[in-house]
Symmetry: C2
Subunit: 616 residues, 2 copies
């Protein structure tokens, strides 16, 4: 497809001389480009369609890369990437060795800071702005943050910290009243109040007039009023929360009007202290299917441009199976509550919401709060189940220790997207959950394989276990390739040999295949599949001790993983055999489709087989 303007733009300098009309035309082309490309590559559609004009205006007004843009959560950076010399590589978006769906300084000098988790942009931008100040540089640090990410506490911590400074920091609050699901929380309502009150701005001029008319009101009141005049003025001029916090507040601005946007950004540049701009955008803007249902078009696989996506909601996946099972258990037990941090659909909890609205809690993008809140519910005898993506649960690490484990509260953590997640790359891989959960005293961790075992573990976690219980499962669906019996404990196949292969989770199927293939080559291994991976069970350890050679395969970071723990435990019990582990070595795992990443990590059946033959 050919684009009249977009084709000529490779760097931000190429758009500096365009008129507002041309910029609007360019935005239309970018939208068309995004819809066409993402319909093939998959990716974050709605949030990018919502921020086309805003990003174009930013590049018109600021000088990137000297000025730094920080995109909160990062997934709305596509327009920015298009304008900064990555258009030609756009069809490699989110693919192995392709361009990232998130900002990545190693990919381009125009990207200033990695982001992928929410609510970090103001902190990073404030750090950059302070560095500019200390180095006497006149550049700008601009954070673009949605109202969804604004529900995360770190955004407020940064806002609070920067607000009292005299640092040149520009925060653009992209208000679309959506994060991934419909936005929640009092703050979002507050923003909408500001928006919905045109009379609010008029008010200032009205009160001005009152103040000018004071003489006619009578003397005693006049005196009172003159005393209070400055206070009254202050009250009305410093009237938003942001102004109270020390920000020059500009807005609300129509986020799809290039002229308004360039004007307000230009005005923001003139300030020598923090500025907050409230920009009103429509998520999915310009693509009717996405405008109508931005949640479904948040992060999607490929789709048909003309008819929209049939495949935008994945039905056969762990998230939905777990979500439905929690709902079923809650039908029978009114103590069960469900919590999500702004991921009602992603975690499959929409079914719970439909059935038990009063016991469903979307707390915003606020994993730390979610964990403590769960502890509060549990302290009164309820059974909270917090469904959360593995990499986002990292935000609740301290709270799991402090508010659940030390407090000894019975809370179930459904750790979704555990293991390799694929295209979202380093920031989203769920490879640390075992390491950070298993060392917390009293925490039980299950890593079931397949839907049936996942449901079994969930039932035990909710109805039989005590304390903190985590059930972890991968993104996507049941890929189990064997018929071993299911268990919440472990499954063992004794093949009458001195070599044992131990693994857990979905990767066990690859181990099973490797062992099958080895058997055809007359190499025999017994198999042990752990379902409860922490704490390690005595009877399982006894089995391991009876072997001479153990292979351990783990889809998670090696350091602090179950392999190391098991090796040390049986060694202390007297094990003298060999112990070899395949796990993720000391590195962050890049983007790509799951099978190729697993192969790169030597976690596919072929590599496991090869490794065993080598080490034998």
């Amino acid at each position: 497809m050919e684009y009249n303007l977009l084709d000529k733009i490779n760097h931000p300098c190429d758009l500096k001389n365009l008129t507002n009309e041309q910029l609007s035309e360019l935005c239309g082309e970018i939208r068309s480009f995004l819809i066409n490309t993402i319909s093939k590559t998959g990716g974050h559609l709605a949030s990018n369609l919502g921020t086309v004009e805003l990003t174009v205006a930013m590049h018109k007004v600021f000088d990137c890369p000297e000025d730094k843009f920080i995109f909160d959560v990062g997934h709305q950076c596509y327009t920015h990437k298009l304008l900064t010399n990555r258009k030609d590589r756009f069809e490699t978006l989110r693919k192995k060795d392709g361009i990232s769906g998130f900002p990545k300084p190693s990919e381009s000098e125009y990207d200033s800071f990695i982001s992928g988790h929410a609510s970090t942009s103001i902190s990073a931008a404030y750090g950059i702005a302070k560095a500019f100040e200390l180095q006497n540089k006149k550049n700008y640090a601009v954070a673009m943050i949605g109202d969804g990410a604004f529900t995360g506490g770190e955004a407020y911590e940064a806002l609070n910290n920067a607000g009292r400074s005299k640092t040149r920091l520009i925060v653009i609050l992209n208000h679309n009243d959506m994060s991934i699901s419909k936005n929640v929380g009092a703050f979002a309502r507050y923003l909408s109040t500001i928006r919905s009150k045109p009379s609010y701005l008029k008010l200032k001029s009205i009160v001005e007039k009152i103040l000018r008319h004071i003489p006619v009101i009578g003397k005693p009141l006049k005196r009172w009023l003159e005393d209070s005049k400055s206070t009254l003025k202050m009250l009305l001029y410093r009237s938003t929360f942001f102004e109270e916090l020390g920000y020059t507040y500009l807005g609300p601005i129509d986020g799809h009007d290039i002229e308004q946007l360039t004007n307000v950004l230009t005005r923001a540049k003139e300030s020598n202290s923090p500025v907050l701009i409230q920009v009103e955008t429509i998520k999915g803007k310009g693509y009717p299917f996405a405008e109508e249902n931005p949640g479904a078009y948040h992060a999607i696989a490929g789709f048909d441009v003309l008819n929209g996506g049939d495949n935008v909601v994945m039905s056969d996946c762990y998230s939905n199976v777990i979500g439905s099972e929690i709902t079923r258990l809650a039908d029978e037990n009114e103590k069960i509550c469900a919590i999500t941090a702004a991921m009602k659909y992603g975690t499959g909890l929409h079914t719970f919401y439909a059935a038990h609205k009063e016991r469903f809690f979307d707390v915003g993008i606020a994993e730390g709060h979610a964990v403590t809140f769960a502890g509060g519910l549990a302290s009164q005898g309820l059974i909270p189940v917090f469904c959360v993506y593995s990499s986002f649960l990292q935000r609740g690490y301290d709270q799991i220790i402090h508010d659940l484990a030390i407090n000894n509260k019975h809370v179930v953590l459904c750790v979704d997207r555990a293991g390799i997640v694929g295209e979202d790359g380093e920031t989203h891989q769920g490879v640390f959950d075992v390491a950070f959960l298993s060392h917390i005293p009293r925490v039980i961790v299950y890593s079931p394989e397949g839907y049936d075992e996942a449901k079994l573990c969930l039932n035990k976690a909710i109805n039989q276990d005590n304390g903190v219980v985590a059930v972890k499962y991968p993104r996507g669906g049941d890929m189990r390739g064997h018929n071993l019996s299911i268990s919440t404990n472990f499954s063992y196949v004794d093949n009458n040999t001195n070599m044992l292969l131990i693994s857990y989770g979905r990767i066990f199927t690859n181990c099973f295949k490797a062992v099958e293939s080895l058997e055809t080559q007359s190499v025999k291994l017994s198999l042990l599949k752990l379902t409860q991976i922490s704490p390690l069970e005595k009877s399982m350890l006894d089995i391991a001790l009876s072997y001479e050679k153990i292979f351990f395969v783990e889809e998670g970071i090696k350091t602090g993983g179950i392999g190391e723990q098991l090796c040390a435990t049986i060694t202390a019990m007297g094990y003298k055999g060999s112990f070899c582990t395949i796990a993720i070595e000391n590195t962050f795992v890049k983007q790509g489709d799951v099978p190729s990443i697993l192969a790169d990590l030597h976690l596919d059946a072929k590599s496991i087989e090869k490794y065993i033959l080598q080490e034998m």
Copy 2:
């Protein structure tokens, strides 16, 4: 000492019938009791003196334990403990097997939730309030939170989440403009603005009058005004941020006036939706030394009641040595910045503040933000050093991964209070840092022993290393009991034997003593002291491989610790010997003085010696 009223109060019901005058007298007695007792036991003085009336009023108005009180950070719960049947045990405060300095449900049914870290109270209270609502209970959940803890993002996450609900939740904002150091941040200023504006409250009645006088102002303005009248009213009545967020705002109230307090709490009880009460208190109230210098009297050892504490500031300690060294390095290198999360004195950074104010950042109780902010500074070539207590750094776990390690930023983490901290108990022990830092790719962790080695590591971390570098050191001073050469790597004493003892950090001195004592019994062990504990160094591994029996001693949680990692690593390299570890088993470590805790954990010299003799 005898107390006229306090002696008769064992349970909250005993004060229900006291008059306000008697309650005021009781408060005087409680203050006197607290000053006398804490002067002997040590503990948190200033914050407890500030909240005597508030706590008494809470017990007068609410029915604890059916109503639940959540004390944020927890250390201001002493008056509550006095009134709930723990007066007689008060001299055991913070001692081994004694009563805790923090709320502890296992100690009393009157304590509803453990707290020790900041900013969790509203989350927990909202969880409890929601549980009451779901169970049709009419009880109250009351969170008491200081403006210091209000700088932590979780407080805001909870405030935001609860604000839109119609749940009966009472938040008492204890405003004393101090957390541990003088409070920082824009929000604190905002609260002071509310307090300092009596005219602000008058303003409402003034504007009411204006509105009533509208007819005399002229017709066009009148019409305008009438249109806007309701908006104007709303603006003025819903005028604080808290009201915007959905809270009934009551205050500011004099926090040392029993009558005002009981009135406002009674009024709060009448609401069926969230209420926020702003209470103005003076930290250290009633003890002049503490009122003048509440920071120094925040957490103190014993002191002389008449003359105040000479010993309130510990000068000879790792914190101050590190703080001074960072300052010295910053004298020479203007890229070095220092960051604290509201612990300027505790982390020894007051010297840095005095010398390099412009490069010193107190970001509030906001560890997550601190880490990302450091990443922002580092992205522009500065070298940020974040000094933080080990157990509080748990709050920044995700940010260390997401904003530093993946981003590959050079930031130094000075992990203070690493290992056993003693009297503060479970929530404050720094026993997880090794487990949660060592599994993050690219993170270097040093655990120096003694001041000189600590300075050596700090220098290397700042001037030579790349990426995230953590230097961890314990609470208190240099206790090194040997003369081994210092190193940033490891120190090795080859005693010509087949047994090797490996350890790191301050606990190495106990290992050294154990080995010395064993030598007198003709049991010989070689010694290896690790300074760089992660990643493990090849040359050190080679030494370990040359032994037949390895003992590993670790002052940290065993699972995910260095012992497990080392055992697994050398086993994979072919080690066939035995490997025994003494570390903290799967449990939370209770309060007590450090030497007795270490003895309980078998980490003292005697226990190490005994263990080795047993396992030989």
